[in-house]
Symmetry: C2
Subunit: 343 residues, 2 copies
Amino acid sequence: MSETEISTLGEFGLIESLTRDFKVKNASTLRGVGDDCAVLNYDGKRVLVTTDLLLEGIHFDLTYTPLKHLGYKAVAVNLSDIYAMNGTPRQITVSLGISKRFTVEHINELYSGIYAACEKYGVDLVGGDTSASVTGLLISITCIGEATEEEIVYRSGAHDTDLICVSGDLGTAYMGLQLLERERVAGAGQKDFQPDFAGREYLLERQLKPEPRADVIAELRELGIKPTAMMDVSDGLSSELLHICKESGVGCRVYEDRIPIDYQTAVMAEELNMNLVTAAMNGGEDYELLFTVPLPQHEKVEQMKTARLIGRITKPELGAYMVARDDTELEIRAQGWNAFDNA
Amino acid sequence: MSETEISTLGEFGLIESLTRDFKVKNASTLRGVGDDCAVLNYDGKRVLVTTDLLLEGIHFDLTYTPLKHLGYKAVAVNLSDIYAMNGTPRQITVSLGISKRFTVEHINELYSGIYAACEKYGVDLVGGDTSASVTGLLISITCIGEATEEEIVYRSGAHDTDLICVSGDLGTAYMGLQLLERERVAGAGQKDFQPDFAGREYLLERQLKPEPRADVIAELRELGIKPTAMMDVSDGLSSELLHICKESGVGCRVYEDRIPIDYQTAVMAEELNMNLVTAAMNGGEDYELLFTVPLPQHEKVEQMKTARLIGRITKPELGAYMVARDDTELEIRAQGWNAFDNA
């Protein structure tokens, strides 16, 4: 047997190589691998399914992640995928692998965060599996949501001339992670070290306790806007724009001066001597919603409080570029986070 | 914070303590934690959801488990939970955590088993998540199935005088594991060691490549038998009988001389100087179906090729006992496998 390192394919390449030859057999399977959620048809109602795996040492570091926040985030990232299809999350299952260093009290803390997220977003915990693990903590959550056929928004529906919008601000969760890492290193080995987070609370909150953007979905409905394509920003804006362009068979232009960036993110980038736009385009874990709307809905989009216009969809032959402040065009490349590079 | 070791509660105790105060909020959640599957109501159709986590070093040992078989088994154990509710499995999601020692070719092997099980049981792979892991392989599978309201069989429906039946034979997968362990120890450190499995193939097959009992469900339907309660035997017959008794508020008597045991299992128990009935009652991982049927269906049950009568349901005050060959009654206790004791 020949040996190919998984990092040569990356996560997306691996999934594509594993799933491309598989043909679905059930009439109830409308959409399998390849979007934020699978879409199933049960007696007309659309059932959405998504799943996320969080592993200690890969996705989270318990030296600075409170277990309650971790539980909350593990649920939030799944709900985000359901909202990204314009659906409503209803149920989750939670599977845990727990090594010997965790006590019942630790797991209660984790669950208090899981339940807080369930409570806030009206979701029921309906099952799971719990096991010992050899090392570390692992959390595997599957979320089930619903939508009508008319409501569902895929990644593949963007058309030439559509407007591109994104909610909230970008790069914030990434900067929160940089801050946490800096303070962890600074405090290593010091017993009474107090990390300095004053004035940076928003960065930490976005990294440790992200909120799925149910409010964006609500505002879109209030204004009568139905996106043509949508996904959540988990791997970074660049990566997600390329997904939408590929799935929809289109190109795009986004404008550097339109990318939403919070003041704290900018200050932190300055302090760390990092390129701010690179962080915002590639940071990841923001769990904002990226969506496209038809050009005639321009005025409605301008009224949105939760999202802003950042660019437009083009014909595919025009490629995917960011237009810089000086009008030069920079090709968008996926530099999103790859778990297989970091292990 | 006080510190309570998780092993003091065990898996069932931990899940109960975590979930008992949680109230479901959605009308679509008919049944949450506590049966083989959650039961959801989407426009009248019942959607069943179950999930299982398999961890290297806890649930499987790759020194004797071929990756293809592991993939097959990981799917099979989930399908078994759907059949145990009298449902039909339709979709699965597969999440993998993969450490650096695995190559693309390894993961292809694992997936060939996953796909083989999907193919055989008509199930679609519709999503998942793939990540690097710090150590070892982990597989988290969620299965979605369907049933009508009338079809679903819970653990809680057994009544006094019902007949107790079980499919196939018991203790076989456990003896397969003992055999594999014996040969692993015997061969440790020897380069050209050939394990001796001659005449024991059935034990290995039951351990390494269990089949969910779709055929039992089909036979029940053909004969017009609808069980009053059902579950799959994953933790051992004793443990599962106690679940049904507790959930249904009943007692039971099972007869030692009716417990189905294969010849190879008996020979192996003799060789290893183990108590055969203990192995059959507590072995686990058989993935047979345990079910109860109303007494008037006695004649129909006797016709079954895939299952046999092993006892009867009693009033709760009579407790749960096995009637030995000499007519003494032995109280049934759960000695099922507990991941938290073995880690």
